[in-house]
Point group: C2
Chain length 171, copies 2
């Protein structure tokens, strides 16, 4: 299960990295590695398992709360990257323990809930999205890190796909 | 240094993963996780340190050998993903030990060599490119993995940036 692996992936990529890699973004309002880890923590706290519980409790009758994509700006303030990595690992462990304690069976994965913008979604889609959301941010993270070396590679930039990625953010 | 971390990142992402994640690609001639790790091994064996040695020995007078982007197809045949991950970790360690044993000093990083297509490049650019090449393939890997769940996420695909990435391969 990829969800169990993400804390270790982020540790391998980021723990102990200098600020060049951790605190620099892709310009403007874009996110640094530090911002990305903060965003993943916010997802554990207010998005994935809370939505799953709303789905199980209310079905399609009660839409999920909209997700605050900027919650981490306040929550991460004054913390180190290492603190955020620890916090994410702990929050993810708690989420997965809570998921397991629900003892979901196969037919539960067809249960439906209501997304505030997308309409009817299934529990199965919610869990798959949780996974692909991790991958979206690992994809972003490798791009943000590569961006810091965009000039250092000289003429090779023509061959390095990650430097041509313009991001694919949600609207 | 990111180069030292890549084997651990790949292990965290891939070791023990089922074939869904490891052997499936993005359709057509695109690469699976298995192919990507094979390509990274080939880079250690025939590209990065060999080019660095050519640069130090011949300067601009002798272009690097062109890199075979499909070398892994033969080399990886019949191996397990775990074998490739071990092989990559070992090859990378050897490359970095060899790099360290050269005892390069700051001014060496300005030394110039000749890329067969891009022309004059510096040692500094070569090492930066080695790093960003790792990130290009981590970026690709997260996208290839996400692709396997493109239908499972249902309507959420609209929000998941990694599913909109069309790849940015070298020409």
């Amino acid at each position: 299960m990829l969800l169990t692996r993400t804390p270790a992936i982020l540790n391998a990529m980021l723990r102990g990295m200098p600020d060049t890699w951790a605190r620099h973004n892709e310009g403007g309002e874009s996110w640094s590695a530090f911002d990305i880890v903060g965003h993943l923590i916010a997802g554990e706290r207010t998005d994935w398992m809370p939505r799953l519980r709303i789905l199980l409790e209310y079905g399609e009758s009660h839409p999920f709360d909209p997700f605050d994509r900027f919650a981490q700006q306040k929550e991460s303030q004054g913390k180190s990257l290492e603190e955020l990595l620890d916090e994410f690992a702990e929050a993810r462990n708690e989420s997965l323990a809570a998921l397991q304690s629900l003892n979901l069976v196969e037919k539960d994965f067809n249960r439906r809930g209501r997304h505030p913008a997308l309409g009817v979604v299934t529990l199965s889609e919610l869990v798959a999205t949780w996974t692909v959301h991790d991958l979206t941010h690992l994809h972003q993270l490798s791009r943000v890190m590569a961006y810091q070396y965009r000039e250092a590679v000289g003429p090779w930039s023509a061959y390095l796909g990650v430097l041509k990625c313009t991001g694919h953010s949600a609207p």
